[in-house]
């Protein structure tokens, strides 16, 4: 297994003007793993996701997914290769219904052409019907089917987060990137989210990379954790190792590891 990781990030880095937001970052993810990515504010965690998904092209290093080099690919191609993500600041299609939000993720899996849609060929109807059925199935898994006609922007916060995960999953990823999915959730919602993450991981045979400030969540669900500080990887190991790691403690500057960050 370890000879052929699903995701292999090699010495990746990026500069924004003078700022080295991420430098010399290396990480291997094997099929089926759930790894946490933590670090203080501004450490470069979201930037790592942006590099993985093609939002930014790395200025140094290489990224291999499934043995294929993917750095420099535009985001939509990365998604089609099997990496999808959620965003730290929720990015739903606000004016669209919950159902349409999920349907959009199915977009590239459907095959009916523009031509057949404009002229309403049978392919259009069967294609759209399939998209609709699959999307509703998904919403059921996430307990969102009862609000499927609601506009995304009108959902309560917790449901918006869940919808974003549902949407990311609908795109059919092998690797799922979650950027602070529990941010702004109350303890009850967080607990449900943890269960949901474990559930989808088994159900969909997923590999997950999770950014989270909530240490309880991270320590609870992740097998391994990577710690970033000032764009540098300062530690990697099991939750136990991370908890005791002197550099991690230093990075959090006296903040007790395990404390919650709102």
């Amino acid at each position: 297994m370890s000879t052929n990781p699903l995701l292999h990030i090699q010495n990746v880095g990026i500069r924004f003007g003078g700022l080295r937001a991420v430098a010399n970052f290396t990480l291997k993810l094997n099929q089926g793993e759930l790894i946490g990515l933590i670090g203080p504010n501004g450490a470069g965690k979201t930037t790592v996701f942006n590099l993985l998904t093609g939002v930014y092209a790395p200025t140094e290093g290489e990224i291999f997914f499934n043995g294929e080099r993917i750095n420099g690919l535009p985001p939509y191609k990365v998604t089609r290769k099997g990496i999808s993500r959620t965003f730290q600041n929720i990015r739903l299609f606000n004016e669209l219904s919950v159902l349409d939000n999920v349907k959009i993720a199915y977009h590239s899996l459907a095959k009916h052409s523009i031509f057949s849609s404009i002229f309403r060929f049978p392919k259009h109807f069967s294609g759209e019907k399939e998209m609709e059925e699959k999307s509703i199935e998904f919403l059921k898994i996430f307990h969102l089917d009862h609000v499927k006609e609601e506009k995304a922007k009108n959902l309560p916060y917790g449901q918006q987060r869940r919808l974003e995960i549902a949407r990311a999953l609908a795109a059919g990823p092998k690797l799922l990137l979650l950027d602070e999915p529990a941010a702004g959730m109350n303890p009850q919602e967080t607990k449900e989210l943890m269960e949901l993450i474990s559930f989808i991981r088994n159900e969909f045979n997923l590999t997950i990379l999770l950014i989270e400030h909530d240490m309880k969540l991270v320590m609870g669900v992740c097998e391994k954790i990577s710690v970033l500080d000032h764009g540098q990887l300062i530690a990697h190991g099991t939750p136990e190792e991370i908890r005791k790691h002197p550099k991690v403690i230093e990075a959090y500057l006296g903040e007790e590891v395990g404390e919650e960050h709102a």
Binding site: F16, T46, N50, V55, Y56, F87
Partner: protein
């Protein structure tokens, strides 16, 4: 010396573009709005100058000053009535409003005055100097002098005065500036006042140099000045100056090479090339959108 001649013509045209472009760039720098109505402020400046010279019998400098004051007031009025409410709306809503304001000024003006053009009175004795075999009119020299003086003044205001500091602070980060005790509303209004005054001056200079003015005269120079601002890097004051001069020279060269009908197209082609290949302009830095 045909080319030197064209170069000087280009500089004269360019200084008018540069003066208008400064207003575009300052306003964009501070509230990220393409103030489409800026070209019409320029037009009102030209007509105010015309009125001051032919009706009030003022000489050049007082007429110039009057036009600048009227335009400053007009600029602030537009900002307070129309743009202030748009601070939190989308850039596109702001852009459409600005287009609306521009057309409103033009057609209200035509409604009350008519669309007929006006011939600018001669306020300055016309002399021609011979420099390297090129004929340079006293007007070109004057235009250049006035432009340069106004630009130096502007640099002084922006970099040395307290209000200039406030302007730069608001442009950099509006919320932080507010926290530092800067009156953001007033600072924005003053930016409009200064930018509009410069457009007013450009209007008078345009009238004297090209002698014909009309209520729709602001549209094309307005667009060109905007192109100049983008060329130099929108939001950057020296960029607007350089962009203005550059565009003026390019246009005169295109005309002089026998493509005068393509002159306007040249400006738009420059705009599109710049937007596509270097949207931050000559002096700008490229920034990535944060995700």
């Amino acid at each position: 010396m045909e080319w030197i001649q064209q170069f000087f013509n280009g500089i004269s045209l360019g200084s008018i573009y540069a003066l208008i472009a400064l207003g575009y760039t300052m306003v964009y720098g501070i509230i990220k709005l393409i103030n489409f109505a800026h070209g019409d402020v320029f037009m009102i400046g030209a007509f105010t100058g015309f009125f001051a010279i032919s009706v009030l019998n003022l000489s050049f400098l007082p007429a110039l000053l009057l036009a600048m004051i009227v335009c400053a007031i007009l600029g602030v009025t537009i900002e307070r009535i129309a743009y202030k409410r748009l601070r939190n709306s989308t850039r596109i809503a702001a852009l459409i409003t600005a287009i609306g304001v521009s057309l409103l000024i033009e057609y209200i003006f035509i409604y009350f005055r008519g669309a007929q053009p006006e011939a600018y009175p001669e306020v300055l004795a016309k002399e021609t100097y011979n420099i390297f075999g090129a004929k340079i009119s006293s007007q070109s020299v004057l235009i250049l002098c006035v432009t340069v003086i106004l630009m130096i003044l502007l640099q002084f205001i922006v970099h040395r005065s307290k209000i200039g500091k406030a302007m730069r602070a608001v442009a950099y980060d509006q919320d932080a500036a507010k926290l530092m005790g800067i009156n953001v509303d007033n600072t924005i209004s003053i930016t409009f006042a200064i930018g509009s005054a410069l457009a007013g001056a450009a209007g008078v200079i345009f009238g004297i140099y090209y002698t014909k003015i009309d209520p729709l005269m602001g549209i094309i120079p307005g667009l060109k000045a905007f192109i100049a601002a983008v060329l130099g890097g929108i939001g950057i004051i020296p960029g607007a100056m350089v962009g203005g001069f550059l565009l003026g020279i390019v246009e005169t060269v295109v005309s002089a090479s026998g493509f005068s009908l393509w002159r306007d197209a040249a400006a738009f082609i420059i705009l599109i090339l710049i937007l596509i290949f270097r949207p931050s302009g000559i002096f700008g830095k490229n920034a990535k959108e944060k995700v």
